[in-house]
Amino acid sequence: MIGASLPRKEDPRLLRGLGCFGDDVDAAGQLYARIVRSPVAHGRITNIDVSRVRGNGITAIVTAEDLPDLHRIPVRLTVEGPDLSGYLQPVLAAGTVRYAGEPLAVVVGEDSYACEDAADELDVDIEELPPALDAQTAPQAAELTRAYGDPGAAFRQAAHVTEITVTIGRHSGVPLEPRCLLAVPAGGDLHIYGMTKVPVYNRDLLARMLNVDQHSIHVHPVDAGGGFGIRGEFYPEDFLIPWLAKTMNRPVKWTEDRAENLVAANHSRQQHHTVRAAFDGKGHLTALTDHVIQDNGAYCRTHGISVAELTIAMLPGPYRIPAYRGHASIRLTNKTPCGTYRAPGRYEGTTAREHLMDVAADQLGIDRVELRRRNLLTKADMPHRRPISTLGTDLVLDTGDYPALLEAAVREADRLGYRAPDDSTRTRHGFGLAMFVEKSGLGPRETADVTITEAGHVVISAGGTTLGQGIETVLAQIAADALGAPAANITVITGDTDKQPFGTGSWASRSTVVGGSAVHEAALAVRQEALSHAAKALEAAEQDLEIVNGEVVVRGSASGVGCADGPAARVSLAEIARTAEGGLSARRTFEVDHMTYPYGVHAAAVSVDEDTGAVTVLRYLVAYEVGRAVNPMLVEGQLRGGVAQGIGGALLEEFGYDADGQPQSVSFMDYRMPTAAEIPRIDILLTQEHPSPGNPLGVMGAGEGGINAVGAAIANAVRDALGRPGPIASLPLTPATVRTQNP
């Protein structure tokens, strides 16, 4: 079962329109909520006049004054050191608004259209203040450093130094389904529909904020229309909607619209890098430094400063770097607050580092691939411990053969004709390559319950959540492998805090690695229990038994028929579940101290129209080492989807602001996500040659390897096409940007 591209368990319901997304759920007697958001970037609230909009089916209008406490949403992913308590977002703005889109009030009523009308009519007086919009001059919330060795000495002794600046535009995951939440009070408890990603964490936090017992809150599973880091974090609405339902003792439903989503849900990525490398006379890196200025928007949300931390911790990538210093300054601006977006910090850092490598190679007169080859860590270096930490774990590159994958990727790109000559005078072709290390399998733990029902069905209660990644299929395959039961006969329950109260959630490319290992161990425990029962029933030794298609049989008894008066030769798992005391079930928690680090190479072939500056991606290759692919079709799907999002960030997508801090990207007409017309057929070279030593399955994560190096590969390809000696990495490379880079 592991290794087979089985059809997805999620598909039949989704293809029939029978998925259950957040807005598909209704409760009898529900009220609708509409958030009133700040129309300005920065100002003092002088008055909110609710008198004019009462009545007309409007049940309540709530402002910060109506809340029992002014709750601020704490950081979930803490980084040791900086105190962020002064920068946390309140659930409703009180006194000051700090970005256009910040929640000011909630209108609750019987009809969703009427609530929207009322929200528009609410009189809000705000005395505007000048907004901070440029991170270079904006106030700093925190700074942090990850460093080892003596970069200063290395730069003093360097034979060659290359320094470039790289900027990454503000963009984000933008899942196609907007956020939604339904909170239903019943018998003193609260039932929540719409939470995902980290439902147990969110339940516990909500319980603390509401001052109720965590077990009185029940988060129910929903399908989620894409996660990408931004969906499922605890936002102001995740407090407001349940609080309203509890206070009013009525179900309350909230569904945001796209214009809200684009200013309210986490933005990401906006960074300015000054990255610098020292080389010896043979083109070997002797030191690397990066100074990162991150535009974090108006507050520190649940991700705190972890994006900046990941940026500087992962920046050294696949190379042997004797001395390193990464420094990040997190600045606060009057824009939507930022969080993680798929491959947070790596998309940004890989762009900076890999663009630097191309510029340095050209300056050194060394072939761009050769410069990388000279500096890559090798198989003999593994495991390679970098004396820095990230997300509270020591950074130990666990396994791999980086040079071999680089050679394979270059061979594949050449075989597919990526390095084609220019075909017309006004269109230039370029080839860009980038190498990266990804991270996956963040601990500290994940829990899974595997149960065989009395009907012989296998039920898994997993700690992760469905976000579109195919977790139900993957976990079923892992359990099927251990149990000898068909994957089709396995039900995977995710995102239900009653059925799996110990889940850590689906993020950081961790569910197959950590969640899958928990399922594997629980399924093996169930298998062992089944065999031990069967051994008694069949009067056979455990080691002579095997499980085939949901039945325990005596190995080698092909007919499976016992002697007429002797013991039976087979017993079904269902029968064992019926007779075993306490049923047939196991809970296992898989704990892991270190992440596992997959890696890859991206290659892009682009054409650049010299007149218009338009960049077309002609071909795109991802070579990726995943340790072991549970379902290769799904791994390839993850990689392709990541590339498409990466191309969006490299060429198209940006949250712009005008001089007053007014958001300029509030619809899909001005926030330009790629369509099928902008995404080429994507080539994949998937390798499974270096199983992860840190988990029993040998798997590594696949969620983020498709997007990690897209900004880098595209920037390198465009620079190659234009034949520029210096850097051009100011993403997104829109036609206007390309024209100014190539005057």
């Binding site: 989704l14 329109g17 196609l176 389904e177 579109g468 799907g637 498409a644």
Partner: protein, 165 residues
């Protein structure tokens, strides 16, 4: 409030709606066809695509009252009599054309209408890609969707060829 009479997937419905109520909200919240999804409510993403008298429309840009007297088809109407997936739905699964599945109903209805057109018989990959570019998908990178639509067009044409001989 205005009376509206329509059929959805062949089933007749009568209801009364506000003039401004969108067809998407009417289908989802008044009639329970929640397979039609709203991703942007301004006609770009196409997740809410349904067939109005056989023609694909963005249900977020059509008022419910405009569907008065119309035959509407939604994703819930694609599967066959025994609830078997249609060839197009099956092709989406075979080609891994969906991940989160939120945009999927819109792509299915868009393709369903196009595949009924005469030019679908000779559909090229480029044409399948251009059709796919009508809607947004955030998960798949589109390749599976293009492949699924193209495979369905070719398989239907092969079936027609077999029918003729």
């Amino acid at each position: 409030m205005h009376p509206v009479t329509l059929t959805v997937n062949g089933k007749p419905h009568e209801l009364t709606v506000e003039a401004r109520r969108t067809l998407a909200d009417m289908l989802r919240h008044d009639l329970g066809y929640t397979g039609t999804h709203l991703g942007c409510e301004h006609g770009i993403c196409g997740a809410c695509t349904v067939l109005l008298d056989g023609v694909p429309v963005r249900a977020c840009l059509v008022f419910g009252v405009q569907a008065d007297g119309a035959e509407v088809r939604t994703v819930e109407g694609l599967a066959g009599e025994n609830d078997e997936l249609s060839d197009l739905q099956q092709a989406f699964s075979d080609h891994h054309a969906l991940q989160c599945g939120f945009c999927t109903p819109g792509f299915l209805m868009l393709a369903e209408a196009y595949l009924a057109e005469p030019e679908a018989k000779t559909m090229t990959e480029q044409e399948a890609r251009e059709l796919t570019a009508s809607n947004l998908c955030r998960c798949t990178g589109y390749q599976g969707i293009v492949d699924a639509i193209l495979a369905t067009a070719r398989e239907r044409e092969r079936a027609r060829g077999r029918g003729r001989t």
